[in-house]
């Protein structure tokens, strides 16, 4: 088996007496789409925050590409190649679509402590940004203020921003949240195109989308991973069915 790109090792986080992350161990292999599913309150968001560095775990380790990143800040993790999208769309609404992406390009190419030359006229930044926009099908929206995009377009823009950082791992926190059926189809098609080039850790509520996209699925219930396996294995798993359908009292 290949060396995992991301490894969570015995991650624990308590809020008061509540164990929100209760010894989570999980591997994301290079090239796979690994989905985390779980009922509301399972601790998915906290887990994502621990992986991206917004919340510090009480115990356990996060190893990314062979390096321990447990204590790194959010920006440092991003520089290491961990890009994320947010559950609630996070873009700079006052910037043009292009400038949103160009900011991400600039963050990985040379110092941002450059004071004289107008950033908007840096051809290399704009070209790389356009490339990322093209990947998500937003090239014709480049000049618009990002705040005027539709919800689905904003989600796509967030993906373009993530891609522009040239990530080694894409961490997508409910990329389909709030999207209409049409937008969902378009975003799923987009993610399907990306799967060839990227390793993706996906947290998503839309089961249909997860079953269509994921190579492997981990099921998080009350802060614990109760099962990890292929789509078929998870669908057949009795404990998972119990957690979702309430067939069991535990």
């Amino acid at each position: 088996m290949a060396e995992p790109l991301l490894r969570l090792d015995g991650l624990r986080k308590h809020f008061g007496r509540l164990a929100v992350t209760d010894g989570v161990t999980l591997d994301v292999l290079p090239g796979e789409i690994h989905a985390i599913i779980g009922p509301n309150g399972a601790g998915k968001t906290t887990l994502i925050h621990e992986i991206t560095g917004i919340v510090a775990p009480d115990d356990g380790r996060i190893v990314f590409a062979g390096a321990d990143i447990t204590r790194l800040s959010l920006p440092a993790r991003a520089r290491a190649g961990l890009a994320r999208s947010f559950q609630i769309t996070s873009i700079v609404g006052g910037f043009s679509v292009l400038e949103n992406v160009a900011l991400a390009v600039q963050a990985r190419s040379g110092s941002s402590f450059r004071f004289a030359f107008p950033a908007a006229r840096e051809g290399a930044l704009n070209a790389a940004a356009m490339e990322a926009l093209d990947q998500v099908g937003l090239a014709d929206r480049a000049a618009l203020p990002a705040g005027t995009l539709s919800h689905g377009e904003k989600r796509a823009l967030e993906l373009a921003i993530a891609l522009a950082t040239r990530p080694r791992l894409l961490l997508l926190d409910e990329p389909l949240a709030g999207a209409g059926p049409q937008e969902t189809d378009r975003l799923v098609a987009l993610l399907t195109r990306l799967r060839a080039a990227y390793t993706i850790l996906l947290v998503e509520h839309d089961m249909q989308a997860v079953f269509a996209l994921a190579d492997r699925i981990s099921v998080l219930v009350y802060g614990r991973i109760i099962a990890t396996g292929t789509v078929a294995a998870i669908r057949a798993n009795a404990a998972v069915r119990a957690a979702y359908l309430g067939e069991d009292d535990t």
Binding site: S90, R114, F115, F117, A119
Partner: protein, 306 residues
């Protein structure tokens, strides 16, 4: 285009003013006040509108620059080659040190902590008995430029202030358009977004805060030379509030709005004070009305009309 055209028109008008019948002592003194406070307001607009750092202590940078001139004057140092770097450097160092703490906070806390640091500077200046304490300090002479008394020349001083104002505006505009400014502008709107692409906003904000302080120091250098007098009032929080008001009146979204803001603020204040004794009773409500009805400030008004 308008972001260049309007400020250029204002600067050209200021350049031409001495030749259009506004060359007297009274007029040039008034215009110097407009330009110097305009400079301080532009550097504050860079912080407020650009970086989203609403400082209520910007007068401290102005006052520290002015006090550097006065203190050196008291020790017989009046050479611009030493006084100017001292004024800019002192204000920049103050901003760097206080900014290092203040920028760890945000929102109302940032406003309050910058206010607190400004008041510390104010009370420090008040306690400088050797330099006049509460009463302030009258300088022996203006700063000398390369051994000449060029700053004493009314017209020369007018154009030096104008050049400094143009430079401050151009530098702030350049900074905001650069990679550095892009990070500041993005972080103002969405700091988490900036972090998520791999950049920590803190060092960018601190450098921006320090640069704005340095520009405030430059304005302070000119202010001391304009009035040949400094007093703790220069560092008062009321002055910080006035600067902030000029920025808001002008329109915080555009740098050059601060120049308009300073112009209208100073002229209105001066004119009203000549009309009546209790002019502040009129001035205050006018300011309130301008905030209510001038969305986007004077700059927004100009941008919509043109």
């Amino acid at each position: 285009m308008r972001d260049i055209a309007v400020p250029v028109v204002v600067l050209v008008a200021l350049a031409a003013a001495p030749w259009l019948g506004f060359g007297g002592s009274y007029e040039t003194t008034l215009m110097a006040r407009v330009m110097i406070l305009g400079m301080a307001a532009v550097s504050l607009a860079f912080l407020v509108g650009g970086a989203g750092l609403v400082s209520l202590g910007h007068a401290a940078a102005l006052g520290i620059g002015a006090y550097a001139v006065a203190i050196l004057d008291a020790h017989g140092i009046t050479d611009a080659a030493r006084v100017l770097p001292a004024a800019i450097g002192a204000a920049a160092i103050f901003s760097l040190v206080t900014g290092a703490i203040a920028i760890r906070t945000s929102g109302v806390h940032f406003i309050m902590i910058t206010l607190a640091f400004g008041q510390m500077a104010f009370f420090t200046a008040s306690s400088l008995a050797a330099y006049g304490g509460d009463d302030g300090y009258t300088m022996y002479s203006r700063t000398e430029l390369a051994g000449t008394r060029l700053l004493e020349n009314r017209l020369a001083f007018h154009y030096i202030c104008l050049a400094a104002l143009a430079l401050t505006w151009a530098v702030c505009a350049m900074l905001l358009a650069s990679r550095f400014g892009r990070v500041l502008r993005a972080a103002r709107e969405n700091a988490q977004r900036v972090e998520a692409v791999g950049l920590a906003p803190y060092p960018f904000r601190l450098v921006g805060y320090t640069l704005a302080g340095a520009m405030g120091g430059l304005a302070g250098f000119l202010l001391a030379n304009a009035t040949e007098f400094v007093s703790p009032a220069t560092l008062s929080w009321q002055r910080s509030g006035e600067l902030l008001f000029m920025v808001i009146l002008g329109g915080a979204g555009r740098l050059w709005g601060a120049i308009l803001g300073a112009l209208v603020f100073v002229l209105l204040e001066t004119w009203l004070a000549q009309q009546m004794q209790h002019w502040k009773l009129v001035f205050g409500p006018l300011l309130v009305l301008s905030v209510i009805f001038l969305r986007g400030g004077l700059a927004g008004l100009v941008a919509r009309r043109g």
